[in-house]
Symmetry: C2
Subunit: 197 residues, 2 copies
C-alpha cells in the first residue's frame, strides 16, 4: 500500500492528478505545445494511463476544462460548411449545445474561467481548440484570420454571457432559431466581410 | 465613543455601510425601485448623509458598482445621437472609456460581477442604467426595444471580455477606431435593423 517515493498514491488519485496537471499545462502552454507525454511526465504516470483514462489529447482537454461534449465534434459541421455559410453554421452548432441539457456544464465552465484570474484555459479553448481549425480558411486577406476569429469570439461569448449566464429576458427565452437568425449575419461579417485598416 | 444600540459605529464606517447597503439593494430590487431614502433607512443613517457622501442616485449607483465614471455621462452623446448613428455613437463612447486609464476599474467591475453568483447588479447596470434611456427610442416595432438592447449588450460585453478581460491578441491591441468600425454596423443592426419573428 505504501507508494514508491516520488509517486502519487494509488490509481484512484491518478485520474485527478492527471486532470489537474493537464489543466495547468493547457492553461500555461496552450493546446498545441502540450503533449500527452509531457502531462504524463509531470503527473508522474505512464502515458498509456493517460490514454487509458482520457483517450485523445482533445478528449483530455475536454475533460480538463470540464466540458460536457467534445468541442471539435460539436463544431465539425462548421469546419465543413461553405465559407458563405460559416456564420449560420456556427450559431446553429453552438445554440444546439447551449439550448440542450449540456447548458449547465457549459455555463459553469464559462463562469469559472472568467472568474479565475488566469485566462489561459479559455484562450486555449476558444482560439486553439474551437476556432483554430477555421483560422486558415478565414485568413483572407492573409494575416486577418486570427483577428476575425477573435471578433467571432466576442459575439459568441456575449451571447453566452447575456442569454445564459445573466439570463436577461426576453433574450433568454427567445427560440434558438431566432437567436441564430439575428447573430448569424454578424458572425458571417466577422468571418468573411471587410475589415478596416 | 460607544455607539448607540442599533447604530453602526462612527461616521468613518458610515460611508462603507451605505455603499454595501446600496449595492445589495440595487442588485435585489433594480435601479428604479431603489431610493436613496430606502438605502438610508436600511443603513440606519440620515438620507442627507447619503446625499452628502454620494450626490444623486446615479452617483450612488456608480460608486456602489465601483465604476470610475458616471455611465449616463459617458453615454450622453449616445442618448442624443440620431437613430441611424446609434451603433457608431455607442461603440465610440464605450471604447473611449475602455481605452482610457479607467480601463482597469471597468475590467475589475465586470470580472467581479460575472464571478459573483448574483447577476442583479450587472443587470441593473446594463439594462436599467446604461441602456434604459435608449429603449423607448429603439422600440420599433413596439415591444422590441428591450430585446434590441439585450442584443446590443451581447456585443458590448463580448468586446469587454475578449479585448480587455481575456486580452486576446491581436484584438487587444487593435486601435480603437478600427474596433469601432468593425462593431458599429453590428450594434446598428441590433438597434434598428430587422428582427425575426
Amino acid at each position: 500500500m505504501s507508494p514508491r517515493p516520488g509517486r502519487r498514491p494509488g490509481r484512484s488519485g491518478a485520474r485527478e492528478t492527471i486532470l489537474g496537471t493537464a489543466r495547468e499545462m493547457f492553461a500555461a502552454n496552450g493546446f498545441e505545445r502540450t503533449t500527452i507525454r509531457a502531462v504524463a511526465k509531470r503527473a508522474d504516470v505512464d502515458p498509456a494511463l493517460v490514454h487509458h483514462y482520457f483517450g485523445s489529447k482533445v478528449d483530455l482537454f475536454t475533460a480538463s476544462i470540464a466540458l460536457p461534449v467534445d468541442p471539435r465534434e460539436v463544431l465539425a459541421p462548421v469546419y465543413e460548411a461553405p465559407l458563405e455559410d460559416l456564420g449560420c453554421a456556427l450559431a446553429t452548432a453552438l445554440l444546439a449545445v447551449w439550448d440542450s441539457p449540456h447548458r449547465d456544464a457549459a455555463v459553469a465552465m464559462f463562469r469559472s474561467e472568467i472568474a479565475g484570474g488566469d485566462s489561459g484555459l479559455i484562450r486555449t479553448f476558444l482560439l486553439e481548440v474551437a476556432l483554430d481549425p477555421l483560422v486558415a480558411r478565414i485568413d483572407r486577406p492573409a494575416g486577418t484570420g486570427r483577428l476575425r476569429a477573435e471578433f467571432v469570439a466576442t459575439q459568441m461569448t456575449g451571447i453566452m454571457l447575456v442569454r445564459y449566464v445573466l439570463a436577461f429576458e426576453p433574450l433568454a427565452s427567445l427560440p434558438s432559431e431566432q437567436v441564430v437568425e439575428v447573430i448569424a449575419p454578424t458572425l458571417q461579417r466577422y468571418f468573411t466581410g471587410e475589415l478596416p485598416g
